[in-house]
């Protein structure tokens, strides 16, 4: 039995009918953020309370994905009332269920006209908080797998690639390479065996976009990979996901199984000759495996050490075959592009950066969580409107984008549009979307040291500039933060940054000096204060206190 579009529509209709037979749908966020605040207990108590009040026929509790505002979880959302609650505890269940017919529970109310919600534009996250990640029917009811049907039955692979090219989508993993170009290279490769790899090894310490997408909408990734497979001519795919994300792994496993059972993965998908199969591979805690060649080595069960490129994976990748490697967010953009057309996507964003970008807002900001905004949204809007500003009345100092490969954007650039080029101009990068907000309590030398420690311990050790250079850089930064540095150390620091960036083998080493370079560019005075006056303005580095005490 092969799946047809009628089957899909029937599943969608049944699902919608069933849902609409309930007067109230109570959506509980069960992504990792809310789960760790006890949302599973909240869900259980809501179900219990519904039973107790005998409202099983009127209310249905649904386990949905990330609602975005992780800072005030557990979050629930009641449709069709358009009421959202924050910080819900299991003991709140009677009040919530009791209030369904009356006024909302004011003490838990989360205003839905909050700029955090109203200023966003959701494409990648459009299903997050709406579909139930553990049920394929729920994804289908939201239009899921229609794009795959459309691609397989109504488009040639070339047309799919043309759409992706026309959309202007660029890789969301960090470097911003045009996705259409990458697909074309793999498409053109003359080899029978090809692979599609989804890079879900989200290593940037301060980013959780991919995690949320995988936990909240795993089928979106599967659909995107299948479309990519059809377009480039691959019949097998791998998702390389961090073992540190057990919930994402579990949901992906379940989703792949459901997709196979239904027939959107496997042989003769939608009655076409196209076959596609996806396997999971677990990462094991190595940031360098985000680098394409290291990732391939790791899938092959080897040490995750990068090799020199060329040859690029698009020509010589997994098991020596042409391999398309795209990041989770890139792949999550594919189904909407196919469904609504490349031109629609190209109409969003700026001239060179199309579409939207998901950012993980964290650090010293009121509304920590996951947001999606059109490319080119000013930083100020993200931090102060959507993010709600800096807590405790403190002053904004900088944001760090791109994690250990990126740089900081200081206050004078708050009105800068967030797109690939503007970020590059100020010495930062788009990166995967981690956005760490720092207030005046952050010491920029300490931040640079933090990232250098990260790069040092994540360096694979293969090439000398990265292996020894990052250790030397860390040593100098450690001396500066301890108040033991000399003024010449700044020159050595700059020279080493240049060397490590220019001579390292892979992207990890080549970008490792970026946080130092960018903090030196905007906050050299802090470095100087540490060296000359043994003073850490933010009071983070211990030497400041120690010297004062002895004085």
């Amino acid at each position: 039995m092969t799946l047809t579009i009628e089957n899909l529509q029937e599943i969608a209709k049944t699902e919608t009918d069933v849902l609409e037979s309930y007067r109230y749908r109570i959506n509980v966020c069960v992504a990792a953020g809310c789960l760790s605040c006890g949302s599973d207990a909240v869900k259980a108590s809501l179900e219990e309370e519904i039973r107790r009040q005998g409202k099983e026929k009127a209310c249905r509790v649904r386990a949905v994905g990330c609602l975005g505002l992780c800072a005030v979880g557990p979050l629930i959302d009641i449709s069709p009332l358009n009421v959202a609650y924050q910080g819900v505890q299991p003991s709140d269940a009677p009040d919530i269920i009791g209030s369904l017919t009356g006024a909302p529970v004011s003490r838990l109310l989360l205003p839905t006209d909050h700029p955090f919600f109203s200023r966003q534009k959701k494409i990648v996250l459009e299903n997050c908080g709406i579909v139930e990640p553990e049920r394929i029917e729920s994804y289908i009811a939201a239009g899921g797998y229609e794009a795959l049907y459309q691609a397989l039955r109504q488009m040639s692979p070339r047309q799919v690639i043309d759409d992706v090219t026309a959309s202007g989508l660029r890789g969301r993993g960090g470097a911003g390479f045009p996705t259409g170009l990458k697909w074309t290279t793999v498409y053109k490769a003359q080899q029978a065996d090809k692979y599609v790899v989804c890079n879900a090894d989200e290593g940037d310490p301060g980013a959780f976009m991919d995690r949320s997408v995988l936990e909240s909408d795993p089928h979106r990734v599967i659909e995107g990979m299948a479309i990519a497979g059809y377009a480039v001519g691959a019949s097998r795919g791998y998702i390389y996901v961090r073992a540190e994300y057990p919930l994402a792994v579990e949901r992906l496993r379940r989703a792949i199984k459901q997709a196979k059972q239904l027939g959107v993965l496997g042989e003769n998908i939608f009655n076409t000759p196209f076959a596609f199969d996806i396997q999971l591979r677990l990462g094991a805690g190595a940031f360098v495996c985000g680098e394409e060649t290291a990732l391939i080595a790791s899938i092959e069960g080897r040490l995750g050490r990068p090799r020199p490129r060329p040859p690029f994976p698009a020509e010589f990748g997994l098991w020596g075959c042409p391999t398309l490697i795209n990041n989770v967010e890139t792949i999550a953009n594919i189904a909407p592009i196919v469904r609504r057309g490349g031109d629609w996507f190209a109409g969003i964003g700026t001239e060179k950066s199309k579409g939207t970008k998901v950012f993980a807002l964290a650090g010293k900001i009121n509304n920590t969580g996951l947001i999606e905004v059109p490319m080119g949204t000013p930083l100020r809007e993200i931090v102060f409107d959507i993010g709600g500003g800096i807590p405790a009345g403190r002053r904004f100092k900088a944001v760090q984008t791109g994690g250990p490969s990126g740089g900081c954007v200081p206050a004078q650039f708050l009105d800068m549009p967030m797109d690939y080029e503007s970020l590059k101009d100020v010495g930062a990068i788009m990166g995967s979307g981690g956005m760490i907000v720092m207030d005046d309590g952050a010491c920029m030398v300490d931040v640079a040291k933090f990232f250098m420690e990260f790069c040092m311990s994540e360096s694979c050790g293969k090439c000398v500039p990265c292996r020894v250079g990052t250790a030397q850089l860390f040593g100098i930064l450690e001396r500066i933060t301890a108040g033991d540095a000399k003024i010449e150390d700044i020159d050595t620091l700059k020279e080493l940054c240049d060397l490590v960036g220019a001579a390292s083998l892979c992207g990890l080493g080549q970008t490792a000096p970026n946080p130092v370079k960018s903090t030196l560019r905007y906050f050299e005075n802090e470095y100087m204060a540490h060296i000359r006056r043994h003073h850490c303005e933010a009071g983070v580095c211990a030497m400041g206190k120690a010297r004062e005490d002895t004085a």
Binding site: A286, L303, R307, P308, M456, S457, E458, S459, C460, G461, K462, C463, V464, P465, R467, V468, G469, T470, A471, Q472, G475, T492, E495, L496, L499, A502, A503, S504, L505
Partner: protein
């Protein structure tokens, strides 16, 4: 082997032309820059490269510039292309190479005066060749153990530069794969089998190839005193040639 590469001096304007060695390559796209350069008598310093072993592109001493690209390329792993202009030596490259070498010296313990290969050491020769007079970086002083458990050889991790020649020769030529590299980054080090003492290794055949290819005094024969040990890696191309002959 013949080469159809020609070596016209191709001056650049941004650096002192007298100090630049450029290589203009026509035809042949199956060989590395390093191979073609050496065939034409142009010297490019190397450390992890050894004729007869698989390339790694890891020590970065053989970095060269290619006209039209801002990036640096490792000559040992970059294939030549039609009309490629390669700059194998310039003040910028020389400066980088010297700094990379200094980084290697700063990593562990490379005191030549008490080393078995003093006078016969590739690392020492490189320092002379690249005009390294001192190490500008602080010594990291990572101290490692010496493994003298093998009856004939010893391994001094403090002299190791992680070129991984020993691993490659053991895996690809001898076929034992006794050696590999444990850990990563600055804490990476050579291990035998499951991190056992070398002398207790179940897989080591005692062939000594690793000792002969080691560029420094990290792997040495027992009983040799300071400056008494010389390495003979020349057996490698010979082995390769003989194996090729033996193929049906």
């Amino acid at each position: 082997m013949t080469s159809n590469a020609s070596i016209p001096p191709k001056p650049r304007t941004d650096v002192n032309p007298a100090r630049i060695y450029t290589l203009r390559i026509n035809g042949r796209e199956d060989e590395t820059i390093l191979t073609v350069a050496r065939q034409n008598g142009i010297d490019i310093p190397t450390l992890c490269h050894l004729d007869g072993l698989a390339e790694r592109g890891a020590c970065r001493l053989c970095i060269v510039e290619i006209q039209g690209s801002p990036k640096l390329y490792a000559a040992c792993v970059t294939l030549v292309k039609q009309d490629m202009d390669v700059i194998t030596d310039s003040p910028r490259i020389r400066d980088y190479r010297r700094k990379i070498l200094e980084l290697i010296f700063s990593e562990r313990n490379h005191v030549c005066s008490v080393c078995v290969v003093n006078g016969n050491c590739e690392l020492q020769n490189l320092a002379v060749k690249l005009g390294m007079t001192h190490v500008r970086y602080g010594y990291l002083n990572l101290t490692h153990a010496v493994d003298a458990s093998h009856p004939r050889f010893s391994l001094d991790h403090n002299r190791c530069v992680l070129c991984l020649r020993c691993i490659r020769v053991c895996k690809d030529i001898e076929g034992a794969h006794t050696w590999d590299i444990a850990g990563r980054g600055i804490h990476a080090r050579i291990i035998s089998d499951l991190n056992q003492p070398w002398g207790e290794s179940e897989t080591c055949t005692g062939c000594g190839k690793c000792v002969q290819v080691c560029p420094t005094g990290a792997l040495s024969e027992k009983g040799k005193s300071v400056a008494e040990m010389t390495k003979r890696p020349e057996f490698l191309p010979y082995l390769q040639m003989m194996r090729k002959e033996a193929e049906p």
